[in-house]
Symmetry: none
DNA sequence: GTGGTCTAGACCACG
DNA sequence: GTGGTCTAGACCACT
């Protein structure tokens, strides 16, 4: 039940945001399936070397988005509802493949990861604005 | 001399980090050329609706990375040195094109921007680790 | 012997408090009469989808308040004593009618249930303080 | 800038829920107007005798509901947006009047506050279900 | 032993 | 001095 999640402690992005976003992605890509049980707040905190409350906050936040379901005294589970539905596996594979190509190009040109994600974010916003 | 930069005030990412990363990208993509003058700290702060100190801090940080050059009483300029060299224009175009394709796929599959950049980050790290 | 009780699992109010308060009200409004038998701990737990221990705790608490009477090996009954005396039926009807009017007004104005009960609580407290 | 808020520390309802609900009501009833500044997290914590983090959590929760607007380094304000719009003053007055009548009846019949709010909640739910 | 709440106190980002 | 994050640790509600 180890979660494939990595936390950068020095990052400007708060720990809870890093964790939250990564769990969300694991659910969307189908690596975590509806009904599946999540690690306990305590075990995940130990595994990641962060505080229990920080994990609890993330679980609570994701519950409010209907991605997780918390049961007191029982555990935490991936929600069955609509929000937690995964992207189609085929769709996800082509997205991941495209992302890998982008990463290869970026690394080839000597970009850093932050520059690459910043580029994606900037283009995303232009795209959204252009749609208006 | 308006900088094509957008700040999200409510974001978990601190304003200074958003600004710093975006200026860095503008330089790397060649939208800001070596020797070109940057907006004054004050005007950029007003334009973006953020605090003067925040802009000043970013300029200072970028100077330390040799991306900007601060001349007291004159202004701030994009540095001529190595760090501020832009990616080849052709390279950048193919990277941007690839990123656009990725964004289209992601939007088509209903991903949010955070999920997409998270995916890029995750794959980047796997890539780096695989190289070791 | 189904009890007209509803539990909200996700609520900030603990399950035992929700259940306790609702049983108390059923007794006060005369829906449960002195001497009447209560559902078994187990059956009520199943009916409500909550833990047996939680129901048992509520029954124990209500016994301490002399609202219920637990007879080992026999069952649980609404107590005959003073605490469990119901409000006069006519009184209760006018209270319920007034409450319904309040609810209609509240819903008409777009209030949520929590806001309405909060208002009742606030005014209640002001009333009590004013009496002093 | 004292907020007319009361916290019951021993209550089964968590402190953050009590505070959150009361602030929400103050906004809905127009006692707090859009744009108005809220007490600082620290001052409110001191005033209520609770922890700073608890207040901060409430402010954060209410920000997510678009009822408050938090500005780092500046302060907290009632949001201008739609969610924070107050109920019409006349409407609110009739609701409060009706609630007072209900309270008088309830107190006359010897009900406790918890029983009264429980009744309101029960009838509310029946009303909602009946609408379906 | 699970998640939930609360406290106390430190340090950071921002103005 | 403002809000934000994080930690460490206590106690509670529930299974």
């Amino acid at each position: 039940m180890e979660l494939n999640v990595t936390i950068e402690k020095g990052s400007a992005v708060p720990i809870y945001a890093q964790l939250s976003e990564q769990i969300r992605l694991l659910i969307r890509r189908g690596a975590l399936s509806p009904g599946e049980s999540m690690p306990t707040v305590r075990s995940l905190a130990v595994e990641l070397g962060i505080n229990v409350n920080t994990v609890a906050r993330v679980y609570r936040d994701l519950q409010r988005e209907s991605l997780l379901r918390l049961e007191r005294g029982v555990g935490t589970f991936v929600a069955e509802g609509g929000e937690s539905r995964a992207v189609e596996e085929g769709d996800f594979r082509s997205i991941a493949a495209k992302a890998s190509e982008l990463i290869d190009l970026g690394q080839g040109a000597g970009l850093r990861i932050g520059e690459l994600t910043q580029l994606v974010e900037t283009l995303w916003k232009e795209n959204v604005n252009a749609d208006r």
